[in-house]
């Protein structure tokens, strides 16, 4: 596959690993990969085995499934129980446990839940089922948000009356800020999410380097990308000179994607939003603007049962980088990929799932 396989070259990886080892002189270097897809790639390619023991990688709050709080999942489940509703969702959300159930379980009980690859496919389902209400679960960060915005705009242009979005979208920069502010973990640098940055551009991370003196490298997702980004971070740390660098130049531009940003702003506006394990982060979520509010699933009345949290699940702390799955008493015992107790065990990029699947 062009522009994929070249970035999985063994020799290049080995050489980059060597350079990292040679240069990583600081005693302990802690890097946070913000993005869950990085977490996945790091496990899938065994990146950690390439790194010297003084470099630690921590997973950050960048798995959309993991940060979606029970309240939002419960609401989706409540909608799915209404007879006239078809729930459309990315596969990611299908098995995530809310307070008492999952969408997978509701489907087995008769709810009409369909997995789609693209929000456009959800709109198509709405077109094919004019007498049903189709609700799309809008999860994901800046990468995904414009695709949902475009779909909502389509719905408006085509005068859809039966298509709605349950907006659970989240924004990345405010979450990084919370991690930095909390000061719970000492982080020397951030591996920043390449695909989010395609949309946002690299400018949004400047505050990390400038105000907090942390290394910042926007990275791609192939093993060569990740190792090169780590090497770049190590150099920044050695020189004690921090700026936002871009490793993923083949995809990410400084200004981001203006079309996508514009559309996002046309359809959505920021609101305070709840993150699992972190709580409410100001300005970190989105809602539909007045002009598009007719597509807001919150217009449909539904009774949601009160939220219940599993007190033993420590996903929240794991998302903040304070703990690892090994600190959880349920990990690998009661909480397994086939019977997840928390979201971090569901999403394949969830830290618990990744630890279980690849690490153990």
């Amino acid at each position: 596959m062009k522009y994929i396989d070249e970035f999985r070259d063994r020799k290049v990886c080995e050489q980059l690993a060597k350079e990292i080892s040679n240069r990583a002189i600081k005693k302990d270097i802690t890097l946070m990969e913000v993005c869950g897809t990085h977490t996945m790639a790091i496990f899938r390619y065994g990146i950690k085995s390439f790194l010297p023991s003084n470099i630690a990688l921590l997973s950050g709050p960048g798995c959309p499934v993991c940060v979606t709080p029970n309240s939002e999942i419960d609401k989706a489940i409540a909608f799915s129980r209404k007879e006239e509703v078809i729930i459309t969702t990315f596969g990611d959300m299908f098995k995530v446990p809310g307070s008492r159930s999952t969408l997978a379980r509701e489907k087995s009980l008769g709810s009409d839940i369909r997995i789609v690859y693209s929000p456009v496919d959800a709109l198509k389902i709405a077109g094919e089922n004019p007498d049903r209400i189709v609700i799309f679960l809008g999860i994901g960060f800046e990468t995904t948000i414009p695709t949902v915005a475009a779909t909502i705009k389509d719905a408006k242009n085509k005068k859809f009356k039966n298509f709605f979005v349950l907006c659970c979208h989240k924004l990345i920069p405010p979450a990084i800020k919370v991690v930095l502010e909390s000061g719970e973990v000492l982080i020397d640098g951030f591996l920043l999410p390449g695909h989010v940055s395609i949309i946002t551009g690299t400018g949004v991370y400047k505050f990390i380097a400038k105000n907090y003196n942390k290394g910042c490298v926007v990275s791609g997702f192939e093993p060569v990308d990740i190792l090169q980004a780590i090497l770049m971070l190590v150099k920044q740390i050695n020189e004690d000179n921090y700026s936002v660098e871009n490793q993923y130049t083949r995809s990410v531009k400084e200004e981001g994607n203006l079309y996508a940003k514009q559309l996002m702003n046309e359809v959505f506006e920021p609101v305070d939003s709840e993150w699992r394990g972190i709580g409410i982060i100001p300005g970190s979520g989105l809602k539909l603007k007045e002009k598009y509010s007719q597509f807001d699933a919150n217009n449909i009345s539904v009774k949601v049962e009160p939220v219940e949290e599993n007190p033993e699940c420590i996903c929240g702390e794991i998302l903040r980088g304070v703990k690892t799955p090994l600190d959880c008493s349920l990990f690998g015992v009661e909480c397994l990929p086939e019977n997840p107790k928390g979201p971090c065990m569901v999403s394949s990029e969830g830290t618990c799932a990744a630890f279980y699947k690849y690490g153990k």
Partner: protein, 75 residues
């Protein structure tokens, strides 16, 4: 957090097109990259092109690696 794959644009009509990777084809939306031309590698996420893959940059990065490896071989 987001899977996105470079695919080659092989058909285009207005804001939609068909992109291909290793013989797998899918209709894609070009809302965020309307300038896309047939033959371009575009980065696809959830059925949308979110950016063009900059082939020049990619080749430069790869060249850098090549030089890095050659430098080692010389030693």
């Amino acid at each position: 957090m987001c899977l996105a794959v470079p695919m080659r644009l092989i058909e285009k009509e207005g804001k939609t097109g068909v992109a291909e990777i290793s013989g797998v084809k899918r209709e894609v939306r070009l809302d965020f990259f309307p300038e896309a031309e047939i033959g371009d590698y575009i980065i696809i996420h959830a059925g949308f092109a979110i950016q063009k893959l900059d082939e020049k940059e990619a080749e430069e990065t790869l060249l850098l690696f090549k030089e890095m490896l050659e430098g080692v071989d010389d030693e």
